[in-house]
Every structure is written in structure tokens, then in C-alpha cells.
């Protein structure tokens, strides 16, 4: 498999960053991200668990998102396991904007091969 270009994002990573950005809450947990991605892609299928969390950890290692555990009292009060929450960082927002801009440019090139940015 060819190595991907440093700094480039996989489609799933772009979807995760976009879902984090659009969440509108201080932090969003993994399953809510899977839901958000499925909704955005109008898909009934949820992202595979391993695929989702590996991508999240990769983005976290790259500094594009940050994570923390919610208050245990809150989880206990709600009667559910503790949630790990994620939030997009400044670097993540920049990388997402660049990826989306590249995707837009690629789409324009497909429509008009003579397009110059």
C-alpha cells in the first residue's frame, strides 16, 4: 500500500474533524461521532468501532484533536460508562479547512480542467 503524503488527511479523518467542529458542544464522544458521520453521509451504517477509534487516536497523536474523560459523577448520575470526549484543536481546524479547500479545488478541476486557483 502506498504511504500517504505527510499532512494529508484520509476521508474518515476529514469526516471526524468536520463532525467535531459541527458538534456545537464542548466535547463529543466516539459513538456520537459515528452517528454524526453516518448522518452527514446519509448512511445507515455506523463506522466500524476499530476504524473509528484508531482514526481518533491518530488525529489525537497528530495534535488535530484533543481528548479528556468526562466527570465520573456525571456518568454515574446518568448510569452509564464514562465517556471519552473529543474536541478539534486549532491545528485540526486549519488542517480541515485545507483538506476541504483541496477537495473543492479538485471538484472544480473535474468540472473545468482549465481551472486555476
Amino acid at each position: 500500500m502506498p504511504r500517504r503524503k505527510p499532512g494529508s488527511l484520509l476521508p474518515l479523518e476529514v469526516s471526524i474533524l468536520a463532525a467535531c467542529r459541527d458538534a456545537g458542544t464542548p466535547g463529543i464522544h466516539g459513538f456520537a461521532l459515528a452517528q454524526g458521520i453516518a448522518d452527514a453521509e446519509e448512511s445507515r451504517r455506523l463506522t466500524a468501532t476499530g476504524t473509528l477509534y484508531r482514526a481518533l487516536h491518530r488525529l489525537d497523536d497528530g495534535g488535530l484533536i484533543e481528548n479528556w474523560w468526562e466527570d465520573p459523577n456525571e456518568a454515574a448520575a446518568a448510569g452509564r460508562p464514562l465517556r471519552r470526549l473529543y474536541r478539534i484543536t486549532g491545528a485540526g481546524a486549519t488542517a480541515l479547512a485545507r483538506a476541504q479547500s483541496d477537495a473543492d479545488e479538485l471538484a472544480l478541476r473535474r468540472i473545468d480542467p482549465g481551472f486555476v486557483s
Partner: protein, 215 residues
């Protein structure tokens, strides 16, 4: 929201999580397990709200598990690599590189000496030029050859002692050629074997160089 359902598919997911986190540090394992438990609970809650039957939720759970197995294995590989990287890049590589370079320099010097003293003992160099009156030097060459072996052993073992606390594997790579030094003086085949072992150790070090991780 309810806690984790007691279901075969949930047990399967948790069993698999224990498998691919086995041997990782406790915090990584605990965090991953907690994250997966949270996902299972959220998933169950979400699907029950949409009135999915238990069997269908279970099937979707297993599908998400199976589709993610390659990524789980990749995640484990990532964690192992990240855990190993700081030690290799900040401590092991400089120490072991210096050790290997010193050892290799010694090995080359000793090999040159071995060939030279052998030629002196035969009173010929490359079998072409007779060297009259050099018999005494051949004896001296034999005595200093033993000194060379002892010095080489001392150097190798000292370097191995330095490398061992940081990386036992590299220490072994240093120790094996040092053991070879003692016998190679008497057997050329072992000398060739020593070269192969040194090359292997150098290759091992080269493959330990850190890989850049995207993004």
C-alpha cells in the same frame, strides 16, 4: 441510559478488546476498554430508542466489530511503535551507534592485523615478496595478537554493559561478535561469521530508525 447489556455480542467485543490490548501498558488498556464499553452502551441506547430488536442490535454490533478488526490490529501496532519510539530515538540509537562504530573499527583493525601477521609468519606478503630477517617479528606478532584479542574482548564487553540497561537486544548484538573474536584468530570461517553478525547488528540498528507518522 442503561449500563452495558449482558449479551453474547457484547461479550465477544469485550473479549476481542482484551485480546488486542494484551501486553500493552495498563493505562492504554484501561482507556481503550473504557472507551469501547462507552461505545457499546451508547450504541445500545441509541438503537433501543429507535426500537430496534435486541437481535438486530447484536448483529450490528458484531458487524462493527468485524469490520474494525484490521484497524484494531493496526492500532495495537501504532501503540507498540509509539511506546518504543522515545527510547530508541533519544537514548538507544546514539549509544548503540557509537558502540557499533567502535566495535566495527576495532574489527577492521584486527582483521588487517590478522592478515598482516599471517603474511609475516609466512615471511611473505601476498605470497610474492620474500622477507628475509623478519622471523622475530612473526613471534612478536603472535604475542601482540593475543593482546589484541584481550583488548577487543574488554572493549566489547564494556560496550555491551553500557548498552544492556537501555536495550538488551543491542547488548546481545555487541556481545556475540566479541565472543567470536576469541576464536576467530584460530579459524577463518568464524571470522567470516563474525562479519555476518556485525552486519546483522548494523542492519538491526538501521531498521530501528523512527518512521515519520502522518499527519
Amino acid at each position: 441510559m442503561s449500563r452495558l447489556p449482558d449479551d453474547r455480542s457484547v461479550r465477544l467485543v469485550r473479549w476481542w478488546t482484551r485480546r488486542y490490548t494484551a501486553g500493552l501498558d495498563q493505562m492504554t488498556t484501561a482507556f481503550r476498554s473504557a472507551e469501547i464499553d462507552s461505545d457499546l452502551a451508547e450504541h445500545d441506547h441509541f438503537r433501543r430508542e429507535t426500537e430496534w430488536p435486541t437481535s438486530r442490535i447484536g448483529r450490528e454490533r458484531v458487524r462493527r466489530l468485524l469490520a474494525g478488526v484490521p484497524a484494531d490490529i493496526g492500532w495495537r501496532h501504532d501503540r507498540l511503535r509509539i511506546r518504543a519510539r522515545p527510547v530508541v530515538t533519544t537514548i538507544v540509537l546514539p549509544v548503540t551507534t557509537v558502540a557499533q562504530l567502535l566495535l566495527a573499527a576495532y574489527y577492521v583493525a584486527f582483521s588487517a592485523y590478522l592478515l598482516g601477521s599471517s603474511a609475516l609468519a609466512d615471511q611473505q606478503i601476498w605470497g610474492r615478496f620474500p622477507l628475509q630477517g623478519f622471523e622475530g617479528y612473526a613471534d612478536e606478532a603472535g604475542a601482540s595478537g593475543v593482546a589484541f584479542i584481550i583488548a577487543g574482548l574488554g572493549l566489547s564487553l564494556a560496550l555491551a554493559a553500557v548498552a544492556r540497561p537501555v536495550s538488551p537486544v543491542v547488548a546481545n548484538a555487541v556481545t556475540i561478535p566479541s565472543a567470536v573474536f576469541a576464536v576467530m584468530f584460530f579459524w577463518l570461517g568464524v571470522w567470516a561469521l563474525g562479519l555476518i553478525v556485525l552486519t546483522g547488528a548494523a542492519t538491526d540498528l538501521a531498521t530501528r530508525a523512527p518512521n515519520p507518522t502522518p499527519p
